[in-house]
Structures are given as C-alpha cells and as structure tokens.
Amino acid sequence: MRRCVHPDEPAEGAYFPPVSGNVRADATIAPDATASPRLVAPTEPTDELVVELRHVFKRFGSVPALSELNILVPKGRISVLLGPNGAGKTTAIRVITGALAPDRGHIRTFGMDPHTQGEEVRRRCGIVSAKPALYDRLSGWDNLQYSAELYGLGRNAVSQIRAAAGRFGIVEALDQQVGGYSTGMKTRLALARSVLHDPELLLFDEPTSGLDPESSHAVLQLIREMTDDGRTVVMCTHLLIEAEGLADQIIVLESGTDLMAGTQQELIRRYWPHDLVRLDAEDPAQLDQVAGWEGVVGYARNGLAEVQLDDLARVPDLVGHLAAAGVRLTRVEPHHPTLEELYFAVRAERRASGVDSPL
C-alpha cells in the first residue's frame, strides 16, 4: 500500500515530493477536460436514438441562436437541456419538432427529418412550452378537445380526455374557463394535453416555471412517472436542482452550443476525474504545502482547501504528514462535487477562455 510522506522527509519512497515553484492559493483545480470551447466531449449513446441533432446552426437575423449544437437523446430516458436564459434550449426544442427549420445541420427525430416529415414527427411528440399555451377563454375540456382533434383523435375522444385529466388531477376543473385556473392547474392541464395522444417523445420547456416548490415537485414527479411506460422525455430547465434530481442525461447548453453531455456522475467524473478532499486548518495557509506533493493532482484554496488526489487511499498519510508538519487540521472530508459546482466551474472556464458571448 502506498503511503504519504512529509515533503521534508528523504525522497526515497516518498509519494509527496517537495513543492516546486509557487502555489497559488486561489488556483482552481485543473479539470481533466478537452480543450475549450467544448470542455467535455459528448458521448455517443449506444441506445436507440429518438433525437439526433448534429452540427446544427440557426440564426435569427444577425443573432446566433444555435451554433454547432449536438444533442443525442436515447430512447426511454429523461434528457435535460440545462442552461441559462438564451442558451438555445427553446430553439432546440423547436427544431426537434420541425416548428423551426435550421440554417444547416443534421436533424433526425424518430429517424425522420422534421422539416420534411413534420406532420408525422409532431404527431408523435407531446409539448409543454414555457408558457402553458392554453386558450384562456375556453374551458379545460375544450382545450383538451381541441388538441385531441388536431392530433387526430377525433371529436369523441372522451375517454382519452378523462384519462389524461384524471392522471394530472384536474377532472373537477375541466368545465371551468382556463383563465380562472391557477398557474399549477394550468401546468397540469398543459401536461395532460401533452400526453393526450399518447406520444412517444415528450418535450417540456421549463414546465415548472412559475410554480411553487410543492407544485414543482409534483410536476417533476409526474414527469418521472411518464418515462415508466417507455416514453422519452426532453426537458429544458435552468434550475440545476431539477436536472440533478430528474435527469438520466444532462446536456449543458450555452450560447447555442452544447458544452457537455452525459449522466451527472459521468460529467463530474469527466471534469474532475480524481477524488476530492476538503481540508481546513487553524492556519489555512499551512495547507498550501500539499500542492506539490506526489499524488496531489490539483489544489485550490478559497477558504477551504480542496485537494484533488489520484487515490483516496492517500488521505490518512496526507493527514499524518500534515500533522507531523505541525499543521493543526480542523476538517478533513471527502467531497463529491454537485452538478451546480460542475456547472459553474465549466461556465467559469468558458468565460476565462473568452468564448462566453451572451446571445
């Protein structure tokens, strides 16, 4: 078993060689990622793909909305498009259904070109847009009836309407005008409308927008349940906590470009491939000495010190040697980065690389 040695000890058998050069206490831990601007290369899912966007570009006048966008959505999974406002999430949804045509790029939904086979593609998709897109002057029933007819269920889709409304708990409100609905009820009605025609692909554009935490939780739970019967879900959000709890695959977008894609753990492991340990001491400056020790592949101190190790098994020796060096440690704990940390780290790096161009 390897052991940690104090840097002042003889070099023989040492795992932590003496520090060479200056250590920046505020330096961030270097990510093991591909070069900017695409910091983490997207992986190619092996499952059947429901949506393929490759090298897609779209401009509105002089404003780029999508720029070299790649999105691969495997069947039966929840893929979350995560990004700030203006990242291109809504435009991505629109090109997936063929509501908008790209300037260039390869798009396939269910293996079809949504621009030329839009009717068939859209018939198999269910949409909840950022605004619920409901007709306020009509009743809930009439809204569902309208959708049923447009999607080819006919005028007698009574059982489907009742089933969809029942699933989202709005049966009692179906006779009321939608203008009198609460935001939560509108979202439920929009969700019911999206599944009315039994679509294979559900596209949700910030479905919890404007909802209170309880309603948001309920909506997310309903979305999760929708994949139980094999449906594929693509959901846009700028809320990290939603993506964290829901996504099978996260695709981070910014300025119309996909920055990275994968499961949460994959993304974090790709960005921080080594184990992280957080340290604190009565005199935190004393911790800086570990930066050059063997096995330490990254070090940063901003309040707490964050040490990236090639092996978590080095922690006991690291602690021992710090103690031997007179460092009075007050905190030693492994750290598992969250999606939020990853997101902001990636965005910070992107800004630093000078490619952060707000839309």
């Binding site: 509105f60 435009t91 908008l100 002057r137 596209l203």
Partner: protein
C-alpha cells in the same frame, strides 16, 4: 404534407368558440351592426314617412331624378290596390333599396377585418401559437381555418343584419305600398355573389398582416390602412351594381372579377403563414 379538412374546421370552430366567449369583442360589433342595419335606417325612414308630403320630402324626391333611368323606373308608382304612391313612400323606397345597400358591404368587412387582424398575432401574443406550431396541423389548414373563422362573423352579420333590415323596410315602407318589396333581385346578387369575394380578398390581406406584425394593436392599425381603400371600392362597386345598370349583369361581372382576384390572393396568402410566424421568432426567414 396532406391537407386535412377536418383539422381546418377544428381550427375555425375553436377560433369561433373563443370569439363567442369574448363578449368584450362581439357586443360592440353587434352594436355596430345594429346601428347601421336598424337604427339609422329606422330613424330616417320613420322621419320621412311621418313628416308627410311637405317641401323637404319634395326636395328629396327631386333628388331621385339624379338616379339612372333604370333605377328611377324601378321605383313603384302605384300601390297593390292601384292607388298612387305618395312622394314620401317613393323616397323611402329609394333610400331602402339604394342608399342603405352598401352598408351590407361595409359592416361585415369591418367586422371580419377586426377578427382577422388579431387572429395570428393574437396566437403569438397569448403564447398559444407555440401549441399550434408544434401540432401536426399543416400551415394551410391553420390559414384556411382562421380565414373561415374571420369570414363567418362578417357573413353572419350580413345575413342577420340583412334579415332585420328587410323586416324593417318591408314593415315601414312595404306597409304603404301594400306589399313586401324587399329584398330585390339585385340585393340577392349583392349578398350572395358580390360581397363574399370582397370579404375573402380583404381577409387574405389582413391575415398576411396579422402574420407579420408584432402586436394586435399594430395589426388593427395596419388593417385599417389596407381595408379602408377596399371598403371604399366595395362600397362604390356595390352602389354601382345596384344603381348603375339596374340589371344583374354588372353584379355578375363585378362578382366574377372580385372572385378571381380573391382566389389568387388567397392562394398566395397561404404562403404568408409559417410556423415561425406563430412562434413569433424575430427575423425568421
């Protein structure tokens, strides 16, 4: 992409249902129709009928000489019982048949234009355009559905207003003549043949505007600019068709020309609606 008539009617029916639920829209429009089809004619006809054979009526009666010969000949001179028709009744007959006729064109054009102006930009403003844009409905189905939904209120106004107006003039003027004289054959042609293409033409222009402008208010203003000349033309042509020849020929020709222009305008107007115009994205080509 296959055109499905059922979806077109679904769009039209849903738009009409929303319109029916919008009392703040149709109540003023109903008042407008009532004002022009009933209140104004009733007031004028009753005033003339009740002032009797006085100088003022005689002056108006002399103005009938300005009408084309064919129109003058159509004014009855004897009642059903063979009695001579008094000048006041002749004036009322002329007003009923010739003066108020073009109202049947102006009112429905105004109402249909108002409905059509907000139909697409309204979807965009409410956010419901997103639903339509992502739906399987073809843009031609959406366009024609909205066209029908805009056309029907105008045409219903015509039929209802025309019916009420017929009742009014037959009671007020027909009572003095001893028989119901209205509608005349020229009126039937006007309502069934001349008016519909003018409505369709106006709406094909209005829907193009509605697809392009950014707000309902802008659509209403732009619609006024586009449809006002059209209303004036329709008014002039309708008046000419009724008064000018006194025969059906002019109405038939005018209607045929209007239908041709309307069909061309409708066919090219279909292309003005794109899914992007329902979404309201800027600078979409």
């Amino acid at each position: 992409m296959a055109f499905r008539t059922q979806r077109m009617w679904t769009v039209a029916r849903t738009d009409l249902r929303q319109l029916f639920e919008s009392k703040d829209f149709w109540v003023p429009m109903a008042l407008l129709g009532g004002f022009f089809f009933l209140i104004v004619p009733a007031f004028l006809l009753l005033v003339i009928a009740n002032v009797g054979n006085v100088g003022a009526v005689q002056q108006v009666s002399q103005a009938l000489d300005l009408l084309p010969q064919s129109a003058q000949q159509a004014v009855p001179t004897v009642t059903s019982s063979g009695a001579e028709v008094d000048p006041a009744t002749q004036v009322n007959y002329t007003l009923a048949v010739y003066l108020f006729a073009p109202i049947a064109v102006v009112v429905p054009l105004t109402i249909s234009s108002a409905v059509g102006a907000s139909t697409i930009v309204g979807e965009r403003e409410r956010g419901t355009g997103e639903f339509l844009a992502h739906s399987p409905a073809d843009t031609r189905e959406i366009y024609l559905g909205k066209l029908i939904a805009s056309l029907i209120p105008g045409y219903i106004t015509t039929v209802v207003g025309f019916g009420a107006y017929s009742l009014l003039v037959n009671i007020v003027v027909g009572g003095d003549l001893g028989y119901w004289f209205f509608p005349t054959s020229s009126w039937w042609l006007l309502i069934a043949w001349v008016l519909p293409p003018f409505l369709a033409l106006a709406l094909s222009l209005v829907l193009r505007l509605s697809a392009r402008v950014r707000s309902t208010a802008a659509a209403q203003q732009a619609t006024g600019l586009v449809t006002l000349p059209l209303i004036i033309i329709a008014y002039g042509q309708s008046t000419g068709a009724l008064i000018g020849s006194g025969t059906a020929t002019l109405s038939l020709i005018l209607g045929a020309v209007a239908w041709t222009i309307a069909i061309i305008s409708l066919a090219t107007g279909v292309r003005s609606i794109k899914r992007a115009s329902l979404l309201g994205v800027a600078n979409e080509q």
